[in-house]
Every structure is written in structure tokens, then in C-alpha cells.
Amino acid sequence: MHIFILRRLLQLIPVLFGVTLVAFLIIQLVPGDVAQVMAGEAASEAQLEQMRENLGLNDPLVVQYGRFLGDLIMFDLGESVRTGQPVMDIIAPRFIITVELALWGMVVAVSVGLFFGILSATYRNTIRDYGTMTLAVVGLSMPNFWLGLLLIYWFSIQLGVLPTSGWGTWQQVIMPAITMGTAGAAVIARMTRSSMLEVIDQDYVRTARAKGVSERFVVYKHAFRNALIPVVTVIGLQFGYFLSGAVLTENVFAINGLGRLVVDAISQRDFPVVQGAVIVLAITFVFVNFLVDIAYRVLNKRIDLN
């Protein structure tokens, strides 16, 4: 196990390297001149040149990338070209909000998804199964923002029980979490169902029944523990999607998360902020995948041996 974790960590190095390189290059390729943005439309050519020189934009790309990496290791993502604030300081609070949002979305997705997945599998080919799976298709097909608007319409405008926007109180959490979690719940429910159906016919489930284990324990202990193995992977992937997909939900509910920050930064051509956000998201994504891999190992005793 330790060897496995160590090996996985070593494998992260080239991945992280690649991620930063791509983030760095994309910003280089985007049309628009940072110096122009910073100096303003009225700046003269000499001023611009001075600005480029100060920013190091005239150095070869390799040198720029090296500097960029060096800064990154010190958690320095540069400064915003708009406000001059360190990008790290701008991103950190926003990132926490987005992670919170994604986590709440996960709570909804995992609990609802697993519940309906198991329900569907245990009542295979009955009305409950069909009903659940139809709901799952609806949940999967409904665009995020549309669900968000519907929720606002019902709960905030019609019933007036929940606030339309903002973040912090528990009332403000409910609708965004549902909005975020619904599609994920549908994916997880479908995965759980098929995985449970596969497991429930296994010999060891029969053995559990033959021991006299009650049907409830057969399903929740013997079958579910095994069915969970592939589901964990899907859950991990969902979390990644949630982080990157938070932007829509954040916009609908006017939550000041990282997604909104990025959108604003793009429209303002605040490249260091965009770049920083992309890197933070990508590293989180890679790290979540790493955790999923380890969880997979812990759950699946069989591959631990190799």
C-alpha cells in the first residue's frame, strides 16, 4: 500500500508539470496584450515597451515559464493586472466558497444517487425501478441553470421560503446544492444500479444468504461494499466536474465563487487571475483523482496484492 501511494505520488509530478505548462501556454496564445490592458488604451508605444520590460514579457518563453514555475512553488501566482492584488489573495476566499458549494453538491449527489441506485437495483424491473431510472434521465438531461431558475421560481418567488441568492447561511446552501447535485445524483444512481445488479448475482452474495444473513444486510453489507468500488471512481470524477461546473450555479444564485471570478477575469482580460484559477482548479482535480485511486485501492482488496 505504501509503495502504491508513493508510486502514485511520483506519477503526479509529470502530470502537474504538464498542467502548469498548458495553463502557461494557453495564456500566451490568447489574443490580447497584457501590457496594453495594464497600461490602458491611451498608453504610448514607449510606455507599453517599458511595461513589457517590467513584466518580463520580452524574455524568451522558456525563461518566462521558469520564472512562473519558481513563483508557483512559492505559492506566488503573480498579481492581478486590474487591482495589483496578489492573485493568491484574490483566489483563496473564492476558491473556498466553490469547494464548499461543490461539497454540498456532492452531499446531495452521493446520498440521493446511492439511495435511488440501491432502491432501483433491489426492486429490479418493478415500477419503482422504472420510476427511479426515468427520474435519473430527467435529472441528467436538465441543464443546471434551468433547474436553478426553476427552484428560484418555486421556492423563492412562489413560496418565498428560500433566498434567491448569496452564500453563507444554510437557507442559501439548499438550492445551489440541489442544482449542482442533481445531474451527479442521476449519474451515480445509474452507476450504482448497474453495479449492484452485477454484484447481486455473484456467488458470494448467495453465500451470505446461505449463512442466514438477512436480506437487508445482504444488500447493504455484502453487495453494496463490492458495488461501491466502481461507484467511487464515478463519485471522484463528479467532484471534478462540480468544481469546474460551479460557474453556472454560481451565476444563477449570485454566489461569489471561483467560477464567477474567472468569468469576470476573462471579460476584464485579467490573465494572471485566469491563469491562477485554472492552475488551482487543475491541481485540485489531479489531487481528487489521486484520492479516488487510493480509495479504490482501500475498497478493492484484490488489487492490493500486485
Binding site: Y204, A210, K211, R302
Partner: protein, 348 residues
């Protein structure tokens, strides 16, 4: 017989189990009777499609949708198991009657230690606390001959060999001292040297506990070595039933005879194996007469038209020979003429 007074540990009467498929009802087991006493091993032998495994799963009430037990009674020491509610029966399963399966590789849950899988059965039925159940699991592992049981109990199934896993399965099955052990092809997936170990172990444990054993197998060699009584199944029915010596000395049913002469033997040379032509009839096209008629070298019109009953022979049996029961027209009064199977050389 003196044993008439004894209530059998297991008595199955008229068992019918069907599968309800979109194409209609498939009668996998169609009116099967047998009984086993304590300290006795009943062998059920048959090829794939004979219904022997469905019979054993029916006794454990482990038939899954779309299968269903549609008729008959299954009595454990006089109690009808089919009348028990699911909750009531769960208290019996793994406790008073238990089962081991063919595939030791897949029959244990891969995500739990073997010790916890044994302890689970103990905890359910003996109501022991966690620690006591674990100790009992270790004791069971020792009983089934697993070296270093304290250490092995903490292992996961994939860390053990096939033979070891089957020992663990036996430990689970016997952890609550069952009256009846059903062994469904317990050694088919194992190598012969390991098979010998496992069969020996089952015999040894039976001697200790006096449990009844139902040994389901396709291997007549295993039957000859382990069983006291034998039931031969074909196409969902019992076609012959006898104590083991009688059956091997004088098999009555042409199917049993064919089966015995079809086995390549490692202890004697055979010029040519007897072939049973054709294949087992599918449940969709089950003949209305004798189910073996289309493969039987002696079949007559009578056999094709009328379905024979399982009965003690009343015709065509040599004087002074003890026989079991068979389901064949040759041994009834309706059969005109001599026994065509007479002189059929069995391997003995």
C-alpha cells in the same frame, strides 16, 4: 428396516421448482423425492440440466427470481421448511442447514477477511459478541485444518488458495453445527490432490458431528467414495435410487448404465467408451413419455408414449438381488419380454 422409526433429517417430497421465463414455464425440478438420515450421506448425481443443483438450492430456499418452488414439501427433522416465513427461515439457514458451493474462488466476499465471514454466521445464529465470534471463527479454521488459523483469519479470500478457500467455506457452513450440510459440487473446481483432502475433511467432520450430508456431484467416483445412498437425476426427475453398493453393482436404468460405462477410468483399460447418443432434452421440448427414451437404446413405443413412475422393480430382476427403485418400463409388468439390458457389462 429399523431406520423407519427414525425421522429423517431431511425429507423432500414431490419437489417442483420452475423458472418463469418469457417463453413460458421451465420445469427444472419436476417431482423429486428423497430423504437423508443423520450420519448419512446421500449423493445426488446427474449431468448439467438434470436439476440436481436446483434441487439443492430449493432445499436452501435460495432460488432467485424468476425461479420459484411450485410444489412439494421439504421437511427438516419433521418441520416443513416451505411453510416458514422468510424471517423464520433465515434463522434456520446457515444454522440448522447449510451449504457449500462449487466455486470457492468466487463464493467468498472479496472485501471482508475470512475470519469476519465465519464470525458473521456465528454472530447471527449463536448471538455471540464480536470477540467471542472471532475466537469461534479461529477455532473453526483450526477444525478444518488450516495452519496458523489466527493469522489466516485476518486474511482476505484472494490471499488463500482454492483448497484453503473451500476449507473456509466449510468452516462457515459448519460453524453452527448444522443437522444437514449440502455440498454442491464441492470439489469440482479443485485439483485431485486437493479434492482428496476436502472429501476426507467432510467425512471426518461428519463422523464428529453426525450431521447428514447431501452430496451433489456429476462425478460417479466422488459418489462411490462418499455416499451411502444415491439418487440419479435426469431431466428434472429421479430416475434411479439405491444404496451405493447396489447401484454400482447392478445399475438398473439404462441412463445409469450408460453413465457408468461412459466414464474413462484411470484404474482399468477400456477399449471404447460407451456413448449415450444425443443430448439432454431441453425443458421446452420435454418428452411426454420417458424423458430418456430418445437416447435409450432399448426404447419402445411404450416408452415414448407413457411416462414411467419411480418404483421398485416388479419384473425382469434376477432372484435374490436387492435393488433400489428405478423409473423404467423394463422393470414393470407392462414390459413384454426379457430384460434387454441384461448382460450389459458394467465396469465391474
Amino acid at each position: 428396516m429399523a431406520s423407519n422409526e427414525q425421522t429423517p433429517v431431511l425429507e423432500v417430497k414431490g419437489l417442483q421448482t420452475s423458472f418463469f421465463t418469457p417463453d413460458g414455464e421451465v420445469k427444472a425440478v419436476d417431482g423429486v423425492d428423497f430423504s437423508v438420515n443423520s450420519n448419512e450421506t446421500l449423493g445426488i448425481v446427474g449431468e448439467s440440466g438434470s436439476g440436481k443443483s436446483i434441487t439443492s438450492l430449493s432445499v436452501m430456499r435460495l432460488i432467485q427470481h424468476p425461479g420459484k418452488i411450485v410444489g412439494g414439501t421439504i421437511e427438516l427433522s419433521g418441520e416443513d421448511l416451505l411453510k416458514k416465513s422468510k424471517q423464520q427461515f433465515a434463522k434456520y439457514r446457515g444454522n440448522r442447514l447449510s451449504m457449500i458451493f462449487q466455486e470457492p474462488m468466487t463464493s467468498l466476499n472479496p472485501v471482508f477477511t475470512v475470519g469476519s465471514q465465519i464470525a458473521e454466521a456465528v454472530r447471527i445464529h449463536k448471538k455471540l459478541d464480536k470477540k467471542a465470534a472471532w475466537q469461534e471463527a479461529v477455532n473453526m479454521l483450526k477444525l478444518v485444518g488450516i495452519p496458523a488459523p489466527e493469522d489466516r483469519a485476518k486474511r482476505y479470500p484472494h490471499e488463500l488458495s482454492g483448497g484453503m478457500r473451500q476449507r473456509v467455506m466449510i468452516a462457515i457452513a459448519l460453524s453452527c453445527d448444522p443437522e444437514l450440510l449440502i455440498a454442491d459440487e464441492p470439489t469440482t473446481a479443485l485439483d485431485v490432490t486437493i479434492q482428496a483432502q476436502i472429501l476426507e475433511l467432510i467425512k471426518e467432520l461428519q463422523e464428529k458431528s453426525g450431521m447428514a450430508v447431501l452430496m451433489i456431484t456429476h462425478d460417479l467416483g466422488v459418489i462411490a467414495e462418499t455416499a451411502d445412498k444415491v439418487v440419479v437425476m435426469y431431466a428434472g426427475e429421479v430416475v434411479e435410487q439405491a444404496d451405493v453398493k447396489t447401484l454400482f453393482k447392478r445399475p438398473l436404468h439404462p441412463y445409469t448404465q450408460g453413465l457408468m460405462n461412459a466414464i474413462p477410468r484411470h484404474d482399468i483399460d477400456l477399449d471404447e467408451l460407451e456413448m449415450i447418443p444425443g443430448t439432454v432434452p431441453t425443458p421446452q421440448n420435454m418428452p411426454s413419455g420417458c424423458r430418456f427414451a430418445e437416447r435409450c437404446p432399448y426404447a419402445r413405443e411404450l416408452c415414448v408414449e407413457k411416462h414411467p413412475e419411480l418404483a421398485t422393480p416388479s419384473n425382469n430382476v434376477d432372484e435374490g438381488i436387492t435393488t433400489g427403485q428405478t423409473r423404467c418400463w423394463i422393470y414393470t409388468d407392462e414390459w413384454d419380454g426379457p430384460n434387454p439390458t441384461k448382460g450389459v457389462a458394467t465396469n465391474q
